[in-house]
């Protein structure tokens, strides 16, 4: 008996979400390869440089918004169902949020892909940050709004399950996986208010032509109100995997349940008031608010550093139970030959490196050194592009068998895949960081200029390009391996009663050691709202005071 036998309805909806996620991953990943080859000049004839920006929009939207959101929805359906031991309360509602998210995704995708059709008026080469006054087709904004509304309903679905469970278990602690799901979604509600206001109040009326000018700073600020917390919306599900599944895959038990809860609380209260750290280089925002954002951002290092300790200690517990010894020798006793474990562990190592470049990004004045250079995508390909994406891929090797009742096929390929991803990302990302220090910009089809040359600080410019192209190729090969293994296992895997060992042991220090206040959802939400008000009420009021749409810039269609 595995998940699909115990909870067939949940398995079905989780699989539907994973399917959409993997299709988005395939298309977005292919776009990434073409961009790497185009940018580095290895192949400039696949697309034109103008089409590069359409493709870059597709890469960002399909991977950062679609792949992540659908995978997370599938993961949380699985986690809430198994940890509460109940399927969703109303399947019609569950399927309705899935379809709303999917319809939104299709609308936005059509708007983006329209950019490849010559003469098409449906275009959306505005990148996934869609800063006005550059204007996309209304389909793009309406689609984005539907994706977010669908995700809100998904969160409501999990709260509904929790409340129904609570009625039957009035005195029990919230099971950890449900706890992590609810806190991630609470953070998501707090932060998506910004982008929902931006899209619904400002951008949709403007893209439909009801207003003909727009104040660029206000929507940009609302975007970044959402735009940093969204990275934690991607990251927290990876933490969900690292806290609740990785210890088991290591052969051990979670070191501390309380620490996991504390970490999620800190993310709920600090994720949103940090958005200005994406606007350190913006005119129109006072230095004081930038400083407040920096202090809160750097405080957010704390939950990640705590996670580092708790998760590594849980792995060490596994290794020591498997006979590991010493300060470092135990690392060799970890199951490096298991694809699910290896992928999660390698993702964690990459996250440690991404943490460092993130500190540079976060630290106000030194951020100017790397602002909008290719250092920044170098950073987030380590975090969302590896810590999150590789964890999602690796855990699929463990989840898909539970959801389909079939064993994993092509295990050798599955094992090579995360190592190949790690290698490809090491090449691509280190080169992007160094390119950024040389001043090479991000989001540029042709970083070659006629009036000057870049000078590398470490290495040479041609070697940097070479590493980016090779890295991109290796990542694509790794992605093809992943898709092949999943496709084969999903449709052709051997049916089995127990296709994978899905038992998750209790934490070493369980919820009995965690103070009750950690489960006080209302308290932490109120604190989160208070910190957001401190950070945003004054600057937003200043921007709105002179009129929602002024100082108004004329519309520039893409």
């Amino acid at each position: 008996m595995t998940f699909i036998d115990n909870y067939p309805k949940s398995a079905k909806i989780a699989k539907a979400n994973f399917l959409v996620a993997f299709i988005a991953l395939a298309i977005g990943g292919l776009f990434g390869l073409i961009q790497a080859l185009h940018r580095t000049g290895w192949a400039r004839n696949i697309i034109s440089s103008a089409e590069y920006y359409t493709m870059l929009t597709g890469h960002g939207v399909l991977l950062a918004l679609v792949f992540t959101t659908f995978f997370i929805a599938g993961l949380f359906v699985w986690g809430v169902t198994r940890s509460l031991d109940r399927e969703p309360e109303n399947m019609a509602f569950s399927w309705s949020w899935f379809w709303i998210m999917l319809i939104g995704t299709l609308m936005a995708t059509v708007a983006i892909l329209g950019g490849f059709v010559e003469g098409s008026s449906i275009r959306a080469a505005v990148l996934y940050t869609f800063y006005p006054p550059m204007q996309a087709h209304p389909l793009f904004y309406i689609g984005a709004a539907l994706l977010i509304i669908g995700s809100w309903m998904a969160g409501a679905d999990w709260f509904r399950s929790y409340l129904a469970w609570r009625k039957e278990h009035p005195d029990e602690r919230i099971p950890l996986q449900t706890y992590m799901t609810l806190f991630t979604m609470l953070m998501w509600y707090v932060c998506t208010v910004g982008v929902a206001l931006e899209v619904v109040v400002l951008l949709i009326p403007w893209s439909l032509g009801w207003v003909n000018q727009i104040d660029p700073l206000l929507p940009r600020t609302l975007f970044w109100y959402f735009g940093h917390a969204v990275v934690y919306f991607w990251l927290l599900p990876a933490y969900f995997v690292w806290y609740s599944i990785l210890p088991k895959l290591s052969g051990g038990r979670l070191f501390s349940d309380s620490m996991a809860r504390i970490v999620f609380i800190i993310f709920l209260i600090l994720s949103t008031p940090v958005g200005y750290h994406h606007q350190y280089a913006d005119p129109g925002i006072t230095v004081g608010f930038k400083f407040y954002a920096m202090a809160t951002t750097l405080l957010l290092l704390l939950p990640s550093l705590l996670t580092l300790f708790t998760v590594v200690a849980s792995m060490e517990h596994g290794a020591k139970q498997r006979g590991g010894k010493g300060y470092f020798a135990w690392l060799g006793k970890l199951p490096w030959g298991e694809p699910a474990f290896a992928g999660c562990a390698l993702a964690g190592i990459m996250f440690a490196a991404g943490g460092f470049s993130g500190i540079i990004n976060a630290a106000m004045n030194i951020n100017i050194l790397v602002h909008n250079t290719i250092w920044v995508p170098g950073h987030f390909h380590l975090t969302v592009g590896t810590a999150v994406a590789l964890t999602f891929m690796a855990i699929s090797y463990w989840l898909v068998p539970q959801l389909t009742g079939r064993k994993l096929k092509n295990k050798t390929l599955a094992l090579i895949q995360p190592y190949l991803w790690f290698l490809g990302m090491t090449l691509m990302s280190n080169a992007m960081h160094r390119g950024g220090l040389a001043g090479i910009p991000r989001r540029t089809a042709e970083p070659n200029y006629s009036q000057f040359d870049f000078e590398a600080v470490f290495g040479t410019i041609s070697e940097i390009k070479w590493q980016i192209a090779i890295g991109g190729i290796l990542l694509t090969v790794s992605l093809v391996f992943f898709l092949w293994v999943i496709f084969n296992s999903w449709f052709r895997g051997e049916r089995a009663d127990k296709p994978v060992d899905d038992f998750i042991p209790a934490a070493l220090s369980g919820p009995e050691h965690a103070p009750k206040i950690l489960d006080n959802i209302k308290l932490w939400v109120l604190l989160a709202i208070a910190l957001v008000l401190i950070a945003y009420s004054v600057p937003l009021a200043e921007m709105v005071m002179d009129g929602l749409f002024s100082p108004g810039a004329p519309t520039i269609p893409v």
Binding site: S256, M364, V558
Partner: protein, 172 residues
């Protein structure tokens, strides 16, 4: 609550690390004078002809000003004015204040290989002060996506020694 003594120690170490990072930025800000730009007056991006951006370029600062030269740069799809057609020319050993804005979309203003880097947002004026110690010609590029030809938006910033700087070229 059960927290292992090693983990308690690690929490302490983490907080020390965070304090060190914040302290470094504060020291950089106050002792090394490494600043970020803040909020200045807004402008109407559809009426820039009534401002100094109508006649962009390098100007001598008003007498009594805390800087020596003021540089007005108009960033538009897909050029800097000045910067692209002819370089922005400024002297060494002078306090120079840049004012940059855009009449159309967002742009970036990056002086390649330096810490001069700002967003250019329609409706806002990016204002910062700097000083160049040695003569050198720097590359200038737009580092915020601004449209289909974003990648051709570039220029130069030429720093000449104070003695060779020709004030006749200034915008009057």
């Amino acid at each position: 609550m059960h927290i292992h003594r090693f983990e308690r120690f690690w929490i302490g170490v983490s907080l020390v690390a965070i304090a060190i990072f914040i302290a470094t930025v504060v020291i950089g800000f106050s002792v090394y004078d490494l600043r970020v730009i803040g909020a200045e007056k807004t402008v109407d991006p559809q009426n820039l002809q009534e401002t100094k951006f109508a006649d962009p370029g390098v100007r001598k600062a008003e007498p009594g000003s805390e800087v020596d030269y003021e540089v007005y740069v108009m960033s538009r799809q897909f050029m800097f004015n000045p910067g692209t057609a002819e370089p922005i020319t400024v002297p060494t050993d002078a306090k120079i204040r840049f004012h940059i804005t855009s009449p159309d979309v967002l742009h970036g203003f990056e002086v390649v290989g330096t810490n001069l880097n700002t967003m250019v947002i329609p409706g806002q004026v990016a204002t910062f002060t700097t000083r160049f110690d040695t003569p050198k010609t720097y590359g200038l590029l737009c580092n915020e996506y601004c449209g289909a030809a974003h990648h051709v938006m570039e220029g130069r910033l030429k720093v000449v020694s104070k003695s060779q700087f020709n004030e006749k070229q200034l915008v009057q």
